[in-house]
């Protein structure tokens, strides 16, 4: 019995192949619909965040992004909220392998640079960005926009 235990204990564990390397943002191309909207009031002494999704849902707003691998994107919207994406345009990440922000260049000529809120592999169901609001020469609020994969 002791010999058997010793023999088992001496077995070298099998080290499996770590698998193919993935790029944390390779899942961004795809079709995404707005899922949750959180807003942070940055003008109060301690910034406060609230889920404001219902403000958009209550009035039938919808926002769908189709992000393509060729660097373009289109917007299908019934959206009266902040216009971060225009009607479409091009997009780019700030780094190929370890991006932490994405910039949308709208066909209307606007540029929206946003922080990525999560890694987006092909298996990830959500894609989040943080967008800043500015008025009267100051940042007053930010939005965390979370999209779900269609």
């Amino acid at each position: 019995m002791v010999v058997l235990i010793a023999a088992v204990a001496c077995n070298k564990p099998e080290i499996k192949d770590i698998g193919t390397r993935y790029v944390p943002t390779e899942g961004i191309p795809g079709s995404w619909s707005i899922h949750q909207v959180e807003m942070t009031d940055q003008l109060v002494p301690v910034p406060e965040t609230q889920d404001v999704t219902r403000a958009f849902e209550a009035m039938g707003n919808n926002l769908t992004l189709t992000i393509k691998e060729d660097g373009t994107y289109t917007v299908d919207e019934t959206w009266y909220g902040p216009d971060f994406f225009g009607t479409g345009g091009t997009w780019m990440l700030n780094a190929e392998d370890y991006a932490d922000s994405i910039t949308f260049f709208t066909t209307e000529g606007d540029t929206s640079a946003m922080s990525l809120l999560n890694m987006v592999r092909k298996i990830d169901p959500y894609f989040g960005v943080k967008a800043q609001r500015n008025n009267c020469d100051k940042d007053y609020a930010s939005y965390d926009l979370t999209f779900s994969r269609n």
Binding site: V37, V44, A58, G81, N135, Y140, A141
Partner: protein, 284 residues
């Protein structure tokens, strides 16, 4: 006078944290504050505190050594200590003032000194200790206080029962959430509203001085778009995008909005709250 009061609090041992207090007691991170430390209130059973007290008895100065809300690196002129053995050589700019009777003070402005914003100060508080210029270490016994904290809390704000989110500024294409906490209503005739009898009068003034009034105050109670949603516990809310809610014509801009909570059946001033809610949209 405030300084006398702060010192008196220390001497009588009734300050919030015993060893540490400040003047003003409510710290504004963007304004000068004097931090007081009473070394008589430190835990003298600790060897390093005993060593500190001995150093003070021998006439040594005390220095602040701080790491929160932010610790400046060794290359910074605001570093806690200078040179390769920083703990043995406190930065002269951090020397404290001897107020007598074992009380030492340091005056500074948090946001200037730490180079962080007020929100970070509120979140992190001020963490520090006091020590002589040479704090020992490197094989020598330490000379220092225990870790000390000066609490930095945002000013208390009493929200009205009817308030917006965001609180101060909103764009006409932003989300806006109006909340009415009827359980805090002081006006007797408006207390205890039923879930289906809370409505909101809504008016937007545009930058060209024209107004959009969704319904006049006598008709508000029959317009379902103006009903506040009951979310329980005596709280009502309405969430919307102002641009869409008021159906602002293309090219027009909202200057400010006015909202009034009213009872479904509005007959007189008794059926409305006393304080209108004004929400600024355009830059003031």
């Amino acid at each position: 006078m405030k300084k006398i009061l702060a010192l008196a609090l220390l001497f009588t041992g009734v300050s919030m944290t015993a060893q540490v207090t400040s003047d003003p007691e409510q710290v504004d991170p963007g304004a000068p504050v004097t931090v007081y430390v009473d070394i008589n209130q430190l835990d003298a059973s600790l060897d390093h505190v005993q060593n500190l007290l001995t150093a003070v008895a021998n006439g040594e100065d005390l220095y602040i050594w701080t790491w929160k809300p932010f610790e400046h690196g060794p290359a910074s002129p605001k570093a806690n200590g200078l040179g390769a053995t920083a703990w043995k050589n406190s930065n002269p700019i951090l020397v404290m003032t001897n107020e007598g009777n074992g009380v030492y003070s340091y005056t500074f402005t948090m946001t200037d000194f730490y180079e962080v914003d007020a929100a970070t100060c509120y979140k992190e508080d001020m963490h520090f200790l006091v020590k002589p210029k040479d704090g020992g270490g490197y094989g020598d016994p330490d000379l220092k206080s225990e870790d000390l904290v000066l609490k930095v809390d945002p000013p208390a704000t009493d929200k009205d029962p009817f308030f917006p989110f965001p609180y101060i500024q909103v764009g006409q294409d932003d989300a806006l959430i109006l909340t009415y906490e009827n359980f805090r209503e002081e006006k007797e005739s408006m207390q205890g509203l039923d879930p289906d009898e809370c409505y909101v009068y809504a008016e937007a003034t545009l930058t060209d001085n024209s107004k959009i009034i969704i319904d006049n105050i006598f008709n508000v109670g029959s317009n379902p778009d103006l009903q506040m949603n009951y979310i329980g516990e005596g709280v009502f809310e309405k969430a919307f995008v102002p641009d869409q809610f008021f159906d602002v014509p293309a090219g027009k801009e909202i200057d400010f909005m006015k909202f009034i909570i009213i009872r479904k059946t509005y007959a007189s001033g008794a059926d409305r709250i006393d304080k209108d809610l004004d929400v600024q949209v355009a830059c003031p």
